[in-house]
Structure formats: structure tokens, C-alpha cells
Symmetry: D2
Subunit: 367 residues, 4 copies
């Protein structure tokens, strides 16, 4: 693991996600850019091998016979590209937190390396790991909604309603560490990715109006975006970190000529399906009507809720299956799905297009 | 009553709304543009006086000593201005269904007459009659949310998901009877009005993307709109009649620097209030925390749901109180509220601005 | 109307319910046992004829050519039997609030008169007027749930959590005016009646544990009851007025060998139906899957909520249809349904059986 | 681990729960009573040491220097006591699935051994591991509800609505493997335990009506129980496996003189709190108002749902903390909570009392 030392948030989530299905052992890390903190964090976690920085780690692990097979990168955005490139170059698989990078230039450099590498690149857009998101994707692919017309997606939070000083808030509102996007990069990319994953399509144009409501904030804390898809479907995307009463309000609604689907992250074990003209149906994770695509990433019976960590773990476990097959020279097992480089690049284009559109008074821009 | 004969929908709603609090008696009508149907409809309702058309009705009722004090106009949009002008000219109060008219030209003519008339003009944007909408308005006016930042409003339906032939669908999708807007005029104006009523502010610019998803439909059946308010607040408005699984999904969320409010029309007896940093609170109609502004338009204790007809009746009953005071030469009683001419004109400007914006590729337009 | 003067609650509800569909005109009343208040109340309501007491009213109205056809009795429980008997004896139809009477002796006297009368007796167990309750009843009668096994019904309120002094609370907690039952009579009878109406069956035995949690309260404020039905179905009934957070929490769940139904009064426009082994379906009032039995007592399209007053009005309107047919010597129109004498007697037996069971330490008692 | 081989359900849950926080390594097992299946299961899981039966395992592990510190027992009910006794005798900590045993005789034998053992005994009543259940318990202990009056608890499922033949269903409906209780033992004990855990009190008497609705079923599939607590509080407990539309409907509502709490297992990240006379508040896991007792067993921020596995893992992790302290001779760390022997014995008394009460026609019985 790179990053995720004391005081970090997402590193702990990655560790649980990796551990949950017993597919990974954490043995080495460069847990902090501060070597003292890195060592202390490693000791706390009982890591066998602690490094002062990711370059040292990549170099030495690559030389060991028992070196790591994969690395998790859980640093702030501007520290994704560097380590990812180092490990990919050495053929070590990379599991990287989103967004891909802080800048498009970094993204392009990383993409070049990733494409040339024999190692896999996995991006933890974790919400795609929820079983009912897999169900929604499969239903749409099967035509259950008919031709898609509308995609209404939003991710609303409230934790940045006021100016806050904290390790978590600081880098997310700092352009030099977060990149061009504030709410856009932090949660807007999740909404963007989720909509694409479920619908199987990406907008060809978007028009964005960005705001920074809290005085002194350098990056957007609210994004209003209209979407146009090839073929005529339309959408709206709303990302906000200043909407009091919303914790992690990621919600997706998709409507087609034959039906509609509605889902909310905060209660992810429910999916509403309305075949047009019929009563609304409540599909539950692993319940009646569950498709194989959803069941394969679900662990317990319906009515016993699975949550955020299980969804996150699904990305890790799918990655493990892909890595095993990859190393064995086998085809990827049927059904294995995880976000990767192209999703990351798409997210970067989304942020850039929104920023560009906003500068041009919400003109339509191709992402 | 003008309009509301056999086969009509909204006329019956107006009749119940008028009757509910015992403030009106229905005694005369020109219930249909077809004189035979008008007479048959009047007989069915036991009306004392039935007229062939609204001109006849206005002229004769104005001459009677016991002539009507007020008229309800419940015709399709293009038939609002004509009768409204006739009755207003004669000093008969007008209670008119929304939107104000089908065209801006009609709206301006009507406005001129209404301003000159000694009679009142009431527009039945009925959702403003819900007690918890009054509560929300009062809370915002009192500063409970702090400075407003975000207005997310939507009105989603699904009944026009496919091409339908019915009296109700026909005129709503016909430009010559409905005006420039389809979903925009029919339900978008409700969303627009509700947001304005609750927040006390109107956008200074909007950018709209309109669609007609059903082949052959002449008017929009889906509208995506971004909003900019004076002072920097932002908003999104979504109106759709092609979203399967939505019956009358009018939802309003308002967020400010100090808190948030969330409300849904389909379960109107609940209002969510989150003071930032505190647990979400569920305010119920007439329950703990109910303000006088809400209690005065509520009839039964909390937990006994009031619905659409009660909210509609509140407009009628408020109008009756205003009419009585007006005729007595008294000031309007404190707290009496109903939408009127300015709301109607605002709605017309909203539709026109959306259509203009859409034609200019969703450019920003002042409504 | 008898009762319902100034300061009363349920009288106003009856007046709105009678008015809502335009089937009744209120012309006469003995609105209070205090003649001065009766007169003042009548003046306020614009009643043509006000009486000092119900005996005077019954006698004089019966003699008038234009005398009332029906009377609404909206007094406290101990004042139901007296007026009901007076009017029924004179052939005037009676619409009486529940429970039937305060004592079983009164109930029996009233029953004898009602059975002998040529007039109709209607008991306003208003919750049976909700469209989706009609839907549930029709679905169960049609066998959609298979053989019934379980009836879980509850009515939870919180307004008597503490000792309160008010006109409404006083008589409800006073045995001389309320009868044997506190919460039992006030809301337990509603739960009992609703379960019977929907399932079409009544328990053959019950075991009840009653409590009075508030010191000094003479009647029960909480009732726990187990139910046994002929044929082996079982049930639980909970009625409470001391459950903080519950306003009018009347909830009914019925389960059979083939499926389940779930409904809550506070959001009465939704009915959950689960055919065993299939996803839960959300049936809405007048929405997809609505049966004729529900549609005939519904006024507006799905998604526009109807509430407590509309359900109450349905009882009045059904009664009006029955009265008209009755007076014309016709058969009752198909589908017309309202609670009457037998429901009232059943409610009385329910209260008496609960009290008797509770005295015998929750022994099984036949109601 | 004892039990949990191929085809088992709860074993897999225990393994994930043990692994989630990285506090346990699974190294040895007697995974099936069938030695071939035991070996195959162990190989599949990569276990270092597989045993033919639990006696062999207990004996040999106790002799090893690197023998297991704790064993998880995840067999059907009738196979709890045997292994638990063997391991406890040898000073190996036992983490045992619920209910305690199949029979009271076994329970007493086990209790004697457990009390004499220097090892700990942990019973996985996993629902007590939910953060908001800890919150509810702490709030009640702090007096936020005032004196408790009412405990309404239920656990409704539907998977046994029809006769099913499966490994999971077979032993649960077989008295020789499940014990006296069907639904009672399987889920009723969870409801019983949860109510006791949250309220801090146990009933002094209960009256139970048991049913077996599915023909040929030897054990109860539905239990209706009334509860009486010392001091006058009352309760109802409903456990059912034949209620179509319920997956794992464990719901707890507790009401006191000053307020109420309501919680549902299927959406466990929400807790409703109503201080009497104030609006209902929605408390979320780790959200505003979260108490330290809840936060210490929560991993991720509010709005990111934790579920069944996390709650289960909390029991394991709490046990690990207790075991460490125990082995170090230290006091148990503050706040560490898990169900144990006394909870298991209470559950056994609950089942026995219900069965006895049911045989005596629902007479009151002390559990």
C-alpha cells in the first residue's frame, strides 16, 4: 500500500476491502510521505516491510522473489500518477483510488505507461461493486427499460457546508493536490462513472455550472451539469458538498421507453423497477428476481444488508480473480468486472469538460 | 364555472375544492364549448343556470342581482384568457387554472384587464396550498436555512411515456391549445411556482434543454433546466412526463448556509428539516413544531393525512376570505395567501424563456 | 347533527366529510348539550334550525315535511345510544360515530331499535373508506393471499403519553363517558374493525393484557391482544396512546399461504403486495392494478394523495347512495359498503372481551 | 472452526466476520461431521490443519504450542454443547453460534463447564453488534426515554412459507437438531436478546401462542408472545417464518415516559428518536448525535452503509479485545460488549417458557 498512514481515511477502507474475502495479504507499504509517520503506521499495522517512499518500495519489491503482486495507491489525487507509473513499469498490478490523477497531463502519462505495462490497472470506483448496481446494469443491457431516454444522477453531501480545517477537507479543496475539480473530482466522478457503468453509455456533450459557495474556497463545492447522450438520451448530474441533510446521497434514476430503475446508495440493498404501466417492484439484493450478475458479488441472503465495505471489497475480489487469471495466462473469468484506465480517463475528461464549460458560461462541451 | 363538463378532469377537482370548506355554492356554468354537452353537464350537476358559452354567461350573470360573485375557469390553456377577461371586465372575481394562458400575447392582454379590474384574480397553483409548503416558506423567510444556496425542484410523471390518445393527453400535447410548452406548461410551471413560493426568490437566468421523446409529439415531454438566482444561489428544475414509475413526483429541496428542507408532494404531510450539523427532523403537518402559517390551512390532527384536494381547497378558501374582505372594503386578513396574476406572468415567462433558451442550444436567458 | 359544537373535534370532520361530494346539506342541529353553546355553534355554522337537545330535535324534525332525512351523531360515546334511538324510532337514518355506545347494555337497546327501524344505521369506522383498504379486502376475497394465516394490526398514538387536561382527553379517559375501554374503545375498535373488514373474518378468541401507564388514569392507555381465528389463523392487535413518535399509526399486515399485504394509514395511498416468491409490489391508489372496488371510492389520479377526509367522505357518500336506494325501494347499488350495526356490536364485544380477559390475567375469551 | 463446511451458510459469515478487522487467522477446523467433506472443505479454504471431528481437534490443538486460541462453533443447535464443552475444558475460548444449545439439559451442562473454565464464552447474537443498537442501549441507559413502558419487537421472515427441503430448512424444522423451538429458537431468540440488550431488562412473565402453519412441520413457524417486565413495562414479541414479503424483518420499538426509539435491521444505519412532544429525529450511524458507544464499533462515515457482516464482525472484534485482555490478565477494555453465557441461558429459558406457555393455552410463565 502507498498512502493510508495514520490520520488517513480511505486507506483503512481499502485494507478492509482487501481483507474481507481473504484474497489479499498486506505485507509492505510506503504509508506516508513523512518517513517517521510511515514507519509508525507500518508498525501499528504489523507490516513486514515499510518503505520511506514509493520509489524505494517499487524498486525493492520488484527485486524480491516474494515481492508484492499488487499495490494499492490511496494517496491524495496529485499523488496517484507517480506511484502508479513506478509500479506499473515494474509489472506490479495497481489498484488505485479515484479520480485517476489530479491533472490531465498526469493522466496521459499514466495511461501511456499502463497501456504498455503487462500489469493490470484497477480504479476503485467502488459504487460499481454494489450487487444491485450490477443488477441494474444487466437489466438495462437486457433491454428491460427499452431505449434509454433519461439519466438523473446525483451525489449530494453536506460536510463542506461550512469552511472546515481537517486533513480530509484540506487536500480536497486545494487545487494543487486535488486538481481542477473539488466536488467534481471527489464525488462528481463517482456519479459520472456510476451512470456510465449502469447505462453502458457516455454523454457526448455536457453543460456545467459550477459554484464555490463557501467564501475562500478555491474549488467548486457544487456542480450542476446537463448531459446529452448519443442517440438523443438526456441527463442531469448534480454533485454537491454543501447540501445540509445529505450524507452520501448518491442516487441514480434511469428511464427508458419501457420502464424505469431507481437506486440510492444509502440503502443499497433495494432497487426499484417499474415496467411502464405496471406497479413498481422492489428488487432486493439476492431476493426474488436477482440476476446472476448481482448474485455473484453478494455474500448473504436478502434482508441481511450488505454495505459500502462489501461493495468496495467486490472491486478488490474481482481484481484478484482477474489478476490470477492474468498471471496464469488465462482469459478473465466470465462476469468479472472492475473499473480501470478507460473509466479513469473518462472521469478526467468529465472534470475537464465541466471546468471548461463553466468557464464558457455553461456552453456545451464534449467530454 | 367555465369548462369542467363531462369527460374533463380538473373541473371536478375545482368543484370539490370549492365545496370542501363550505365557502362556495356552484350555481351557474358554461361547462363546455359544445352547448349540448354544456347543458347535459349542468343538468348532471344540478346547476340552476347553464349557458351556451362564457360570453353569454358573463353578460347575463353580471346583470343579475343574484349573479355569481366569482367564476372558476377550468378550460384548456388557450381558453383561459377569453373568459377571464370577460368576467374581470364585469367585476366578477376569477379563479383560473394554471398556466395563466397559452400565449404570452394573451397573458399580456389578460394582465392589462386584471390590473384595471376591481375584481380579484386567483391562479390555482394548488401545491402552494399544502400546509407544509406554507411551513417551509415561513421557515425560510425566518432565516432557518440561512442564506439560500441551492434549489433542486422536479416534477416527474410517466403518463405520457407512450403516445396516448385521450381528452386529457390530446390538448396537453397540442401547441394550439396548450401553448409553447408541453410538460413545461403543464407541470414545469407548478415546479417553477412552488420553488418561487417557498424560497421567496425567482431566477434571473435559466438554461433549458427540451426534449420530445415520443415520436410525433409536437411539444416537449421532458425539460432539463439550470437556474441562477440573484445573489448567487443556483438551482436545477426537471419536469418530465416520460419517467416510468413517477406518478406526480413533485419534489422540492432547498439548501442554505445553515440548513436544508426536503418535501415530496406524494406524501405531503412530511417535511424534512436539517439544521446543519444536527440530526434530520421530520416535521409533520400540525405536529410538533408546526408554525401558525401551516396550522391555519390544516384541518385535522397530525397523523391523519390531508391530501391534494385539501391543498387545492386551501386556495379556494383563502380566495374566499380575500374576496369577502375585498368586497367589504377591508384589508386582506393576515396570512391569507394565494397565487395570482404575477405568478401567472412569471410562469409564462418561464415557459417562454425555456423555449427560447432551448432554441439557442441552452443559452442563458432571463425569464 | 347532534354534538359537534364549538370546541369539538370530530364534528367538524363529519361536516367536511358530508360536504365533500355534495351529497348532504346541513340544515338542523342540536350541537351541544349546553343550549347556549348549541345556539352559538348553530349560528356560526349558519344552520337553519337549532335545537336545545336531541329529543326536541328528533320530535320536531320528524314532524316537518322538510325534516332531515339523516342525522349525524358525533357526541362522546355515552351519548350515542340516546339520540340514535330517538331518531331511528322516527325513521330518520342515523350516521353515528364509533364506538357504538359506551356500555353493552346501551348497545343492546340500540340494536333492538335499529333492527326494528325502517331507517338505516351507519357507523363511521372511517378507515374502511380508504380506497386501498377496499383494494386489500377485494384482493383477499379473491384469494390473492391464499388461506389467511396471520393478522398483525396496530393503532399507536402518543398524545396521552402524559396526563393531559383537554376536552378531547377528558372524556376519553373517563369511564362514565367513554365506557369500559380507553385506548381500546377509542382506537382499538378501529383496529379491530379494520382487520375484520379487510380479512372478512373475526377472531373466535382473544387474550388481552391492558395497562394504564399514566398515574391516575382510570382507563387503559395501552392494550396488547392476541387473536385466534376460526380455521387456525392467528393475530396480534396493539392499541396504544402512549407510544411517543406515533401520531395515528394504524397499520395492518395480513399474511396468507400465497402472499402478504401491508398498509399504513399515515400514507394511505400505498399498499404493499408480495406474492410469495416474487418481488414486493407497490400498489398505489388508482394506479396500475387498481381494482374497481378501490377506483369507485377514489376521486383523483394516482400520485395525487387522498387522505383522511376523503376516506371519511366515502362512508358518507356510500351511505347517501344506500339511503337513496333504500328510500326508492331499490336494492343497494352494487359495491356500496359501509360499517353498520353488526360492526358496532362487534366492537362492543371486542372491548368487553378484552376487559374481561384482562381481569382474568389474559385468559382466552370469546368476543 | 467447528462446522461450516461445504453447503453450510453461517460458517461463511463467521469467517468473514472474523477476518474483517484482521483480528483472527483461521488455521484449523473440523468443518463437517463427515470426514471426507471436512477434508475437502478445509482444502478449499486452505486450512493448515483439518480434523475428522471436534474431539480430535480439541485434544490435539490443546497440545500444540501454536494451537488455536479460540474456536468458532457454527454447527446446528444440537451440536453446540458437545464441542463447546470440549474446548472450554481445555481453556480454549469459544465463539458459538446461537441459540446456546438444542436442549435445556445441554445448556446446563455447558453452563457448568463454562463457569469453571478459564476461557471465555462468546455467543454470536450478532444484531447486538450494530452501532445504532449500541446507541439505543446507551440512550436508554442514560434515561433519554424516561421510565420504559413498552417493548415491541418482531422478527419476521418468509422463507418457510411453504414446505422446503434444503440443508438450511431441514435442521431448523427438525426437533432432534433444532431443539424445542422452530422460529422461536432460530429468530425468536434474536428478538428476545435484542430487546434485552437494548432495554437492559428481561420480562418476568410471558404468554405465548405458537403455530405451525405448514402441514407436517414439527416445530413452530410462528410465535405470538406477550411480555411483562418487572416494574410494569409490557411488551409484544412476534417471530415468524411464514410472513410473505419479509426477508429479515427484525424491528425494535421501545417507548418510555419521555420518548421513543425505533429501529429496523434491514436498514440498520438509521435510528428514529422522538423526545415526546418534539419532532422525530433521524439518527444515523456515525452522524450528528452519535454516541461514543456507537462510534467505537463503526468503521466508515455516515451515509456509507455498514451492514450485517460489519455488525457480526463487531462481535468478533470485541471478543478479540476481551480475549487479549483476559490472556494478559488485564481488565476488559472499557466499552467492550458481547453476548455470552447468561444471554444464551436466557434465550433457552425464553424458548422453554414459550413452549410451556403454549402447551398451557398461553398461560403466563416465568422465563
Amino acid at each position: 500500500m502507498v498512502g493510508g498512514g495514520q490520520g488517513a481515511f480511505i486507506g483503512g477502507v481499502h485494507r478492509i476491502a482487501a481483507r474481507l474475502d481473504g484474497q489479499y495479504a498486506l505485507v509492505a507499504g510506503a504509508l506516508s510521505s513523512d518517513p517517521t509517520r510511515a514507519a509508525a503506521s507500518a508498525a501499528e499495522l504489523g507490516l513486514a516491510r515499510s518503505y520511506d517512499d514509493y520509489r524505494q518500495m517499487a524498486a525493492r519489491e520488484a527485486r524480491r522473489k516474494d515481492g508484492i503482486q499488487a499495490v494499492a495507491i490511496v494517496t491524495p489525487n496529485h499523488m496517484h500518477a507517480g506511484p502508479a507509473i513506478e509500479f506499473l513499469k515494474r509489472g506490479i498490478h495497481v489498484i488505485c483510488d479515484k479520480p485517476l490523477t489530479a491533472t490531465m497531463a498526469e493522466a496521459k502519462r499514466l495511461a501511456k505507461v499502463a497501456e504498455a505495462s503487462k500489469a493490470l490497472f484497477i480504479l476503485t470506483h467502488n459504487y460499481t461493486g454494489y450487487p444491485l448496481i450490477r443488477q441494474a446494469r444487466a437489466m438495462i443491457a437486457a433491454g428491460d427499460l427499452g431505449a434509454l431516454r433519461l439519466v438523473q444522477v446525483e451525489y449530494a453531501q453536506d460536510w463542506l457546508t461550512e469552511a472546515v480545517a481537517s486533513k480530509q477537507a484540506d487536500w480536497r479543496t486545494d487545487p494543487s493536490r486535488s486538481g481542477l475539480g473539488g466536488a467534481l473530482g471527489d464525488i462528481g466522478t463517482h456519479a459520472w462513472n456510476l451512470a456510465a457503468f449502469v447505462t453502458g453509455m457516455e454523454p457526448e456533450a455536457l453543460a456545467a455550472d459550477l459554484s464555490s459557495f463557501v467564501p475562500g474556497r478555491a474549488l467548486d463545492d457544487n456542480a450542476h451539469v446537463m448531459l446529452r447522450y448519443p442517440g438523443g438520451a438526456k441527463g442531469m448530474l448534480w454533485a454537491s458538498q454543501v447540501a445540509p441533510g445529505n450524507e452520501n446521497g448518491l442516487r441514480l434514476r434511469v428511464y427508458g421507453a419501457k420502464g424505469g430503475l431507481e437506486w440510492e446508495q444509502e440503502n443499497p440493498n433495494r432497487l426499484w423497477f417499474t415496467p411502464f404501466g405496471q406497479p413498481k417492484r422492489l428488487l432486493t439484493r439476492n431476493g426474488a428476481g436477482a440476476l446472476p450478475e448481482a448474485q455473484r458479488v453478494s455474500r448473504v441472503p436478502p434482508g441481511h444488508p450488505e454495505g459500502y465495505l462489501e461493495g468496495f471489497a467486490n472491486i478488490y475480489t474481482e481484481a484478484a480473480q482477474a489478476i490470477r487469471a492474468h498471471e496464469a495466462g488465462d482469459a478473465r473469468p466470465e462476469g468479472v468486472l472492475f473499473p480501470g484506465l478507460s473509466d479513469g480517463l473518462s472521469g478526467m475528461r468529465f472534470v475537464a469538460a465541466c471546468v471548461q464549460s463553466a468557464k464558457r458560461n455553461a456552453a456545451w462541451v464534449a467530454p
